[in-house]
Symmetry: C2
DNA sequence: TATTGTTATACTCTATAACTATA
DNA sequence: TATAGTTATAGAGTATAACAATA
């Protein structure tokens, strides 16, 4: 992790630093960096973790649904699923109701690794939400859910 | 703007969709897309707007400070400042107290354009925070500031 | 020696179009 | 004709290292 000197903190007073959009971007970047650092331990990144997580969800998503939900285009999903499949963590199954579609589910190994990785993302969340009270965390989650969906 | 069918919304029930990190990423992506759409009208993106905003702040930031604050490395700042300077919106001035550093300030044209662009970013904020009450917006801003700094 | 800004370059991520198989 | 997934490729965004000027 990069340790950056905080000599630019005086810019916190600027109007940019009051904008929700800017704050969201900064918060996300920090969380993403921290989560990637921790997930690296299991050979995952935030992206591949997201796919694995949905594969473990029991919702039997198709690749198209994964792309839609994660805001990634189909070719990116192909690459992510390829990688996870090569590692034996997920498998592709033809959707019987529409043989064009492929349903992505986790293998046993995938579930095992997911459990460990999930604990890591919770640790990452603790790291960068550590200064928030339980109540603030709940507020944040509720508000973000309104925005995101 | 892409109109995406919402057939993957059933995935909102998954545990991934409850994670703050995931929600932050989604919220930011949506806000960023919307802001870029609106800023395009003035030939700006969120990135270049951020630099212009800090150049207009009266804080006389150096390029190094801009990079630090925006989490961009020096070479990216060079490119962004080059672009804005070419358009006559900002200028580089050698810092008399450290002649290695260059202070970035806005020109008159830069300030004029910034005022319009700022209004656009406020419109973008309204667009994607529209469902939130005043109180929720204030809570969100306060919480994000805790996380981001 | 260390740092600021610059340049060049390589790497990753993202977006696009064309192809296949199915519908 | 349209859609899901795949492939290839180009473009944008990001990271790295080396250099000149200054400290």
């Amino acid at each position: 992790m990069t340790i950056r000197p905080l000599t630019a903190n005086r810019l916190q007073e600027t109007s940019l630093a009051q904008e929700v959009q800017f704050l969201l971007a900064r918060a996300r970047a920090q969380g993403n960096t921290r989560a990637n650092e921790l997930l690296a331990e299991e050979g995952l990144k935030v992206r591949s973790f997201s796919v694995l997580s949905l594969a473990c969800s029991g919702m039997n998503p198709t690749q198209r649904e994964l792309g839609e939900f994660l805001h990634l285009d189909p070719s990116q999903i192909v690459a992510l699923v390829d990688e996870l499949e090569k590692r034996g963590l997920v498998k592709r199954e033809v959707d019987p109701s529409d043989r064009r579609s492929k349903i992505i589910t986790a293998t046993n190994d995938g579930h095992t690794l997911y459990d460990r990785a999930y604990a890591l993302t919770m640790a990452a969340e603790d790291d960068y939400l550590g200064t928030l009270s339980r109540r603030e965390r709940a507020q944040l989650r509720a508000i973000l859910q309104k925005i995101a969906f």
